[in-house]
Amino acid sequence: MSDSITRRTFLKGSVASAAFMAGLFTPFPFKQLNVSANSSDDPILVVVSLRGGWDALNVVAPISGEDVAYYQKARPTLQIPQKELLPLETRFGVHPALKPLFELYQDQKMAVVHAVGLTYNTRSHFEAVEYMELGTPGEKTIHSGWLSRAWLADAFASEEGIPLVAIPSQPTALQGSNQTISLSSFNDLQLWDGGMIDLQIPVLRQLYAGESNLAQSTNRTLDVLELVKSRVDQEYKPAGGVKYQDDEFSRNLQAVAQLIKMNTNLRYATIDYGGWDTHEDQNYGTEGEMGILLSNLAAGLSSFYRDIEREHARRVTVVVMSEFGRRLAQNESRGTDHGHGGVMLVLGGQVLGGKVYGKWPGLANEQLFERSDLAVTTDYRQVLSEILQKPMQIPNIIQVFPGFQMQGDLGLFA
């Protein structure tokens, strides 16, 4: 492991971010798990990625000025009727399926950032996701994801317990981290037992001795299984009478809530939520495919927040993002094609919520990106950087987003 960069040496600053750009990043050394029984004040970030490119303009739509006419003209059958939109402020209304989140917005627990996204010009899902999660738009030479680097740069994060969780599998953002545990629900964290499992596990560890990625990941998994063993089959009782909806996304969030409450040092969790690539039959008014996606999103997030609100809200920040927004004009299949600017949601105990952030570029032809899509006026890294700097307490953003200069402060946090 002589060439490897450990988190400690990284924190001492002996490694320039140029080394990362050159792809010298190698995985972390494996650490034995230990979990303190004490409740912790350490911050937690949950990143929800809506895969496929969500139609930001039908999530947060204009409700005043000339933009209303542009929006309606471009979307004769796909527009959300004005009277259905829940007003966030004078300019924008939110899709009614997000009502539970609208309530969190009214409680000032959720902020909206509009016209935000990747500053690089691409309408390819795969490229957009990769650039976004590597954190270096236009550059693919870096070999680690932005969350891996945030974790590396995070001086306060404990390496013990289950700091990194990916649902259902490790995204590019966590590339380069062998400490990630993937799961889809909490009950996945157990092995079926043919009758001799207690004798088999030590042998399994012997088989996976060594430093390969596969070995590190497998050992990490075994540690975590051991750690949660006594709790995995217990029935989970959410706080405050919350009942999670019975769908995949809510199960995912419930698993995160369970991990938070277990005090196993969760630091970063990612959740992939797919299905947003709505080229066809996107919505019928507020109903249809998009309505279902949004209503599940809102149900999951609000249950999660209410579940952890009393004990852990100060620690938790949730960011909801997508690789791009969609075209202003609908297509003939009652859908929308790949676009550019999007919308992000930031939710949590420390967020200065109840406000729409970002500079609104407008929807007139000459205001659109390439005369067809919502423009990007806020780099998505600005939002992530403010989250990292404030609640996550990582001062050195350059290590996470090499080459990115923060543009002032949106003011998402005090």
Binding site: D188, W192, G194, N331
Partner: protein
């Protein structure tokens, strides 16, 4: 299937199987006509594994030889009862590989009657149905009423049978390379199988498109894909019309099916794109996506959905629909397409251009090399494979020639240890290694492969499952990989309510003279060609198997029935088994 329920049931079954363990002939009797081999030699009609198996005294790790590489890389893994090739003494590596490829790249020459018979006995009802019958009987004229449970069961039957037949082929067919290549192209031209209104047609997509063209010509392959209703539905081209083009198919055609993201230049001015000496543009830009979308307007299907289209019927077949076609001129990839060309000509011109573009050749070559050689294949090999792709572009045997260049290369031979199994390969190779007895795959096994991360025909995004190890090194794969192996060796899916069972009889596969811990470990390692297991791992396995007994002390029947499944589980989850040679 609910796992908690399974575990409850499984607990009972586990107890039952422990109780039954003393009996040598338990309820897991093999199905008629296909007894499990009682020893390693007797199962395969005389053909012996071609690899040199060291005796138990030679415990030093051996470097994988070519035969092991072929078994693991060009098949779904060792199936001890049925070696796919044999070599006579003195055969050179060249000869072994050439002979193997001669047969496997011309699968018509392979006697697969044992598998064919199994396929017959498995009792599939829909595999032979024509596209027309699938559409008519299972979609548009489903005999059951909407509110009848059988309506959905009948609708989904062809798709479920396709999944089960695919597993059966992967496990038992001797046409192993064909099955791997079919899997490659299913991922390349990915279609999510369980689509709202056309799932039954996936059976035809597999048979009439993927299998039909797997050894053929890429240009023809491309058009078969572009006009199949499974793809037309999946990437929405069935609603792509001049009134408001749907770009989904056009974009993925360029980005995934042909030139690849490596040749995507983003959003640029079309007049600024340079051309090479043969007149091919250096890459594609967003404008090419829009123009391609226009070229494919009107490539739809007979879905009789809209009012006032009297010429459209409900056969669900491909339909070129002139009224939806954008008739004006286009400019794509440096090519001018005049207005009012003959039917389908715009789209065909685009396919012609893409199939002959050097960027496509490189993209396909790189993906094939990644599949069969290493995650980051040598550029020199990629270029040679791409050259064959270009040279043979008009040949009806183009892809067969491409595979030959790839698999006869020195780089392929030197690629031992280069590929981690994806979950599907791990699952299938496990079932091959265990000599499972199965007709129709139990639902629970499919569900477990789903949890491992790779359900067959279950990838939602159009890019197919990723093919680099980093995507598959994760806790879910490991946990559910373990669970799958445990469920199989413990026979937890051997008595399913719907009669779809899988059975494993490990005792019957262990020769009577193999009874001490050392013998058992070495026997199973040799049987699966895992002699490269590190000495420490072997020792740990031997000590585990011996338990309180000595490592050379014969174990009694009860101990054997308890220890062998536990030992076999450990071997099948070992890192060495998780690599494709």
């Amino acid at each position: 299937m609910d796992r908690r329920e399974f575990l409850k049931t499984a607990g009972v079954l586990a107890a039952a199987s422990t109780l039954a363990g003393c009996q040598t002939d338990s309820s897991t009797a093999p199905m008629a006509g296909n007894p499990f081999p009682t020893t390693v030699q007797s199962g395969s009609g005389g053909a012996k594994p071609s690899v040199t198996i060291p005796t138990t005294e030679q415990t030093k790790p051996v470097v994988n030889d070519l035969a092991t590489l072929i078994n693991n890389r060009l098949t779904f893994g060792v199936r001890p009862s049925e070696p796919l090739f044999s070599s006579t003494a003195g055969s050179t590596d060249d000869k072994i590989l050439e002979d193997f490829l001669d047969r496997q790249l011309n699968p018509g020459s392979i006697d697969d009657s044992v598998f064919e018979e199994r396929l017959q006995r498995a009792g599939f009802e829909t595999l032979q149905k024509s596209f027309k019958d699938l559409a008519y009987e299972h979609i548009t004229h489903n005999p059951y009423k909407n509110n009848d449970d059988r309506h959905w069961q009948w609708y989904i039957k062809p798709f479920y049978e396709l999944i089960r037949a695919t597993f059966l082929r992967a496990i038992y067919s001797r046409k192993q390379l064909q099955e791997l290549l079919v899997d490659f192209w299913h991922n390349h031209f990915n279609v999510y199988g369980d689509q709202d209104d056309v799932s039954p047609l996936m059976l035809s997509y597999d048979r009439d498109v993927i299998r039909e063209h797997v050894f053929g010509n890429f240009r023809q392959f491309l058009e078969a894909v572009a006009t199949h209703p499974s793809m037309l539905t999946y990437l929405n081209n069935r609603t792509n019309s001049d009134a408001g083009p749907n770009e989904n198919f056009a974009r993925e055609l360029l980005e995934l099916h042909t030139m690849g993201a490596e040749n995507y230049l983003g959003i640029q001015d079309p007049t600024s794109i340079e051309k090479d000496e043969n007149g091919f543009v250096r890459g594609y830009i967003d404008n090419d996506v829009y123009e391609a979308a226009r070229c494919f307007t009107g490539w739809r299907m007979n879905d009789d959905l809209w009012e006032g289209e009297e010429e459209v019927d409900d056969s669900l077949t491909f339909l070129y629909y002139q009224p939806w076609h954008d008739r004006y001129n286009k400019f794509i990839l440096g090519l001018y397409i005049p207005a009012d060309q003959s039917p389908q000509k715009d789209g065909r011109d685009v396919l012609d251009l893409l199939a002959s573009h050097p960027g496509t050749a490189t993209h396909i070559a790189r993906k094939l090399c990644r599949r069969f050689v290493s995650d980051d294949p040598p550029q020199g090999l990629v270029e040679r494979v791409a050259r064959t792709f270009m040279q043979e572009k008009d040949s009806p045997e183009q892809l067969r020639e491409v595979y030959k260049t790839l698999l006869l290369s020195q780089e392929f031979r030197e690629s031992s240890g280069g590929k981690l199994k994806r979950p599907l390969e791990w699952a299938v190779s496990t079932m091959r290694a265990l000599n499972v007895e199965m007709m129709q795959l139990p639902e629970g096994v499919y569900w477990t492969t789903f949890m491992m991360g790779q359900p067959l025909f279950g990838h939602h995004q159009p890019d197919g499952y990723p093919d680099k190890a980093e995507h598959w090194i994760n806790s879910m794969s490991s946990i559910y990989g373990w669970n799958l192996i445990t469920g199989l060796v413990e026979n937890w899916w051997s008595d399913e309510e719907d009669g779809n069972n899988v059975r494993v009889d490990l005792l019957a596969q262990t020769p009577v003279e193999v009874s001490s811990a050392t013998q058992l470990v070495d026997y199973w390692l040799e049987r699966w060609q895992l002699q490269n297991l590190p000495a420490e791992s072997r020792t740990a396995l031997i000590q585990f198997t011996a338990g309180e007994a000595g490592v050379d002390t014969p174990l009694n029947a009860e101990e054997l029935s308890e220890k062998i499944p536990a030992l076999v589980t450990l071997i099948l989850i070992s890192p060495q088994f998780r690599y494709r040679g």
